[in-house]
Symmetry: C2
Subunit: 376 residues, 2 copies
Amino acid sequence: MEGPREISFCLLKGGRRGPRLGMLRIGETEIPTPAFMPVGTRASVKTLGSEDLEEIGARLILANTYHLHLRPGADLIQRRGGLHRFMSWRGGILTDSGGFQVHSLADLRRILPDGVEFKSHLDGSSHFFTPEKVVDIQCALGSDIRMVLDVCTTYPADEQRAASDMETTLRWAERSLAHWTGAGCRERREGALFGIVQGGIYPALRRRCARELARLGFDGYALGGLAVGEPAQARSPAMDASLDELPTESPRYLMGVGTPADIIDAVGRGVDLFDCVLPSRNARKGTVFTWNGKMIIKNRAFAEDDSPIDPACGCAACRRYSRAYIRHLFQVGEYLAGRLATIHSLAFYQQLTERIRQAIAADRFEAFAAETLERV
Amino acid sequence: MEGPREISFCLLKGGRRGPRLGMLRIGETEIPTPAFMPVGTRASVKTLGSEDLEEIGARLILANTYHLHLRPGADLIQRRGGLHRFMSWRGGILTDSGGFQVHSLADLRRILPDGVEFKSHLDGSSHFFTPEKVVDIQCALGSDIRMVLDVCTTYPADEQRAASDMETTLRWAERSLAHWTGAGCRERREGALFGIVQGGIYPALRRRCARELARLGFDGYALGGLAVGEPAQARSPAMDASLDELPTESPRYLMGVGTPADIIDAVGRGVDLFDCVLPSRNARKGTVFTWNGKMIIKNRAFAEDDSPIDPACGCAACRRYSRAYIRHLFQVGEYLAGRLATIHSLAFYQQLTERIRQAIAADRFEAFAAETLERV
């Protein structure tokens, strides 16, 4: 294994609510927040190598406990020296707990009081995840930030369902923390454990969940079960209620979000960390993000356009390739198409969070948000 | 368009037969021969950008006239400033004539005295390639080295069929040269035109074809219609007969070849240039080339192997990633798998030709060939 890395978060500006600036340190890696994590589900951000992520400026990426548990297995990765060494990535890695993926299995999973029983989407083999086991898997993976196993409430869900999921999430969070504190990870000062706030779209449930998690005392807190189909007017009160109850000094992570507009909105409410497959998945399908909105680069309109995707962008795709060339690559189905588009869109998300941080530092986040939301 | 680039070939060592050292100059790019060209059929060497090709050390690549004519069209590429600018590649580009692709269309093509009629493999639309049109398309693409339209003889083919294809190839070669010389390309000293020797496996036909092409006087000569299924004992005499009749001072290019052993064999006979999809296509399917033979990197045997593909290789894949990681990427179907394997195998082919040149320079090609053929 790589030596254990110390993890700390320092809030530099802002408070319990509203835009915040922070510094997350993972070993020698400094991650200024708000920050966006590219998604490397199966130990690879699709189409990119670790050298590409470095070039883009990413410092913290996400990998998936459920997928890596199935293939190649956490034990195998542990024997390779952990996930960082396995994928040759020196920056930070956050592993989600697999709660969301297991939840997505629908008919293939059953939530029991002690954990969740599920069948692999690959071969139908049966597995049982307990809160303790999920902590152990993430310790074996050697990720820096680990997430507790939770029950992700679907949308729509009535209040009774959301309350029941939330209470299970709380019980499991307590078990996760107890196991983790006792499991030897903590003593080695290795890694951080984040709790996950559930409660659906019900502010009172969100409040109770956040308060209880804060009482247990995690290294950071995630908002889960949002961006699962609920309208913005339902999401905002649920977010606000959660953030109200979370410790000011701890990092807050909004899971699976989102569009540039979603990120700007959530930063304005007090969120520090984000992840989403949106920029990379859209890129592979031929749509990239720019400061003038989404661009469907595979459109005929770009067939004879010699400009880069964004003339002001310094990414490896924009430095060298034209819209016409990238459009051609999509037309003929070349691998390089998705790669160049991914490089650009992930670089755009890095630029977006950088400009967000600059705006907060300059006390002009509201103006920045207003200007940017009109364009993106 | 990029300014026209001067092309020259200088034979530095060797003669009409046997291993040769040469220097092909395309503008400011120096390409020591024997050299191997990675294949970028549709203006992209699959999974790689031009920066990757530079890093690998490739200086001359191949693109395909037939495919680029269909999509995005040579006119469009001409309006973009030519193929080099389109794909942001400063090195040399050789375009094949499309003769082989059209030939592969089988039921979709008909060879007529004036050219070849074919239906697009994409939409069934009808096209007609004449020798003159194929020259014009390649001039529009702005490639450095252009190939004449030929009739590729299948294997097996009787002598009458091979003779008839060869005579058509000769007539078309003469027309190509006349058109090219008169078309304005030559006056601008832009580009080179290579003839193609056909004649199947029949040495007498090969001899006649090579002699007639030499009499016409091309900038270089290709051996076509080999490595199309014929046994080695049929290929060798056909190659030798062709090489015997070609001008000593001109570059010789064996089209579509091949394995490391095939390349070493052909260098020993007097060939200077090669292209083949083998290293890149095999790589994408999980088999890479090394100095100890082919390695099926996706095999279970490598699941826990922390070495790079080749510890002595300095390519971007071997510098950073283990066999275990690349094997995992293949297992789960990640894009990065094919990319890392391609980087390695194309770097290996560059190393192979470099060592071949070193061996020829040191007067030890025969020993090198014997040692290497045992291993690869």
